[in-house]
């Protein structure tokens, strides 16, 4: 265990191992998303109430899953960085943040598009919509804070602290928004037909969720690798690597 953690400290080791892992995740992501979207968009039966508009779920739900998981991963990476000073963790956290913000935006946007045929409006102050919007602001805060520091070390530590503070607050925000929403009189229409979903509907959804996660891992590995090269560009092994490439 400790040997493994010690290895993780070395960007060189991570660079080598991620080169081997990366293709698997890219293949998995491409295959799962392809199969899932073709199945979900073309072959899954239409919803008896929502018709074909329910197919937005195949983008909406996976992106919402990722939006929340990425923030938690960012906070965990921040904790690892603050406690063990593992630089890779911080690099990964920095590379995850824009993807997380993008996924939050995608889930909000696809939710808005979905809202038009089902709710008859682009936006409602629904509890889930509201907490996703707040999550988007939290992401933007972390990204902005990291960008504001001139020293990279301070930026990393500040972003880590903020991500951890944010992750403690996410459940509180979620519950308080739920409470707030139940105090406000909820609208009469809600998302329908989600409880008993037929198998032909949820299997492609599961594939899409797994595909999105693989995509997240693959993209984070790829971006972390380039970040390693950027941050370690004055190290010997990176120079050797550059010479080899030439």
């Amino acid at each position: 265990m400790w040997a493994f953690i010690n290895k993780l400290r070395s960007p060189k080791w991570f660079y080598a191992i991620s080169a081997r892992l990366q293709p698997f995740f890219w293949v998995a992501a491409t295959a799962l998303i392809l199969v899932g979207s073709v199945w979900g968009l073309a072959f899954a039966p239409a919803d008896y109430q929502q018709g074909n508009s329910f197919r937005i779920i195949y983008v909406h739900v996976p992106s919402a899953f990722l939006a929340q998981s990425i923030f938690v991963s960012m906070a965990v990476a921040g904790l690892v960085y603050m406690v063990w000073k593992i630089k890779i963790a911080d690099m990964a956290a920095a590379m995850m943040a824009p993807l997380g913000a993008a996924m939050t935006f995608v889930s909000l946007f696809s939710g808005a598009v979905w809202g038009v045929p089902t709710w008859g409006t682009w936006w409602m102050w629904d509890a889930r919509l509201t907490s996703m919007l707040i999550l988007l602001f939290l992401y933007l805060g972390v990204i902005a804070l990291r960008g504001a520091f001139s020293s990279r070390d301070s930026a990393s530590r500040a972003a880590s602290v903020l991500a951890m503070v944010g992750v403690i607050n996410i459940p509180i925000i979620k519950y308080s928004v739920d409470w707030w929403y139940t105090l406000h009189q909820p609208a009469t229409f809600t998302i329908t037909g989600r409880v008993a979903m037929p198998t032909e509907m949820w299997v492609p959804l599961l594939l899409m969720v797994l595909g999105f996660y693989s995509f997240f891992i693959a993209l984070t590995l790829m971006r972390t690798r380039s970040e390693i090269l950027r941050r370690e560009s004055n190290k010997r092994w990176v120079r050797d690597l550059a010479l080899e490439e030439r």
Partner: protein
């Protein structure tokens, strides 16, 4: 007077900071000294204390002008308006919480004292609340009258603001500590802190709404108290970590 040295942790030199000799009195004296020093400093710059209050009154004045002077309409939106305006007023004064100490170097001295930094940070936050949150809470009922807030909710308004602004000061201090080293930290501070303020706003405004409707105000106040307890427990550590980042960066 044996405690003169520890009474002014801001001017305490490096010699005693590294624990060669624990100043007499320990933590309690250091806390009291920090409290007293900050209070004195702020009382000498009264405009800084008054600005958030004036801002609060001004923002509340804008709403009847911008929306409608109709008392019925104002009464329905008054709880939320008062809470949002108070929240923004508290945010306004947040940037100066550590700024002065950072600029003149006394924050570094605070970090060098042998006393635990979270507690000293807590003392500074307490001063911020005493001179921002508490006055806002006391002033809110007056503005409530101007917004024709229904009778019977004034006490709840003041209590909810007093409880809520304490949490706001604690959460906001994390943001202030993170951005104190940045030259243009002010706008960033609001981006960092406002999303974290939302639970307090929900239950604060909810308490006043509940008091108007006639039931459940105590439940909201209890949750505000719980949020404050949680913030009291966790925020000082985050404030201390953030201050260290800002100073060493």
């Amino acid at each position: 007077m044996p405690n003169t040295e520890s009474l002014s942790p801001a001017t305490e030199g490096r010699t005693s900071a590294r624990g060669a000799r624990e100043p007499a009195g320990g933590l309690a004296v250091a806390l009291w000294a920090t409290l007293r020093r900050d209070l004195v400093l702020l009382m000498r710059r009264r405009s800084e204390v008054l600005n958030p209050l004036v801002f609060f009154a001004l923002v509340i004045t804008l709403f009847p002008i911008g929306i409608s002077p109709d008392p019925d309409l104002l009464a329905t939106i008054a709880p939320g308006l008062l809470w949002v305006a108070a929240l923004l007023a508290a945010l306004l004064s947040l940037d100066s919480l550590f700024r002065g100490d950072f600029d003149d170097g006394s924050l570094e001295q605070l970090l060098l004292t042998p006393q635990p930094l979270p507690m000293l940070g807590l003392a500074k936050v307490a001063v911020h609340w005493l001179l921002t949150g508490l006055p806002l809470a006391l002033m809110a009922p007056v503005l409530g009258i101007m917004l024709s807030l229904p009778a019977g909710s004034y006490l709840v308004l003041a209590v909810s603001l007093a409880l809520g602004t304490a949490s706001l000061s604690l959460i906001g201090a994390i943001g202030a500590a993170l951005t104190v080293g940045l030259s243009r930290g002010g706008v960033l501070l609001s981006l960092l802190v406002l999303p974290l303020y939302i639970p307090v706003l929900i239950f604060g405004a909810g308490a006043v709404q509940a008091a108007i409707l006639g039931d459940g105000a105590l439940a909201h106040l209890a949750i505000l108290g719980a949020l404050l307890a949680l913030a009291l427990m966790l925020a000082p550590w985050a404030i201390a970590a953030s201050l260290r980042i800002s100073i060493n960066g």
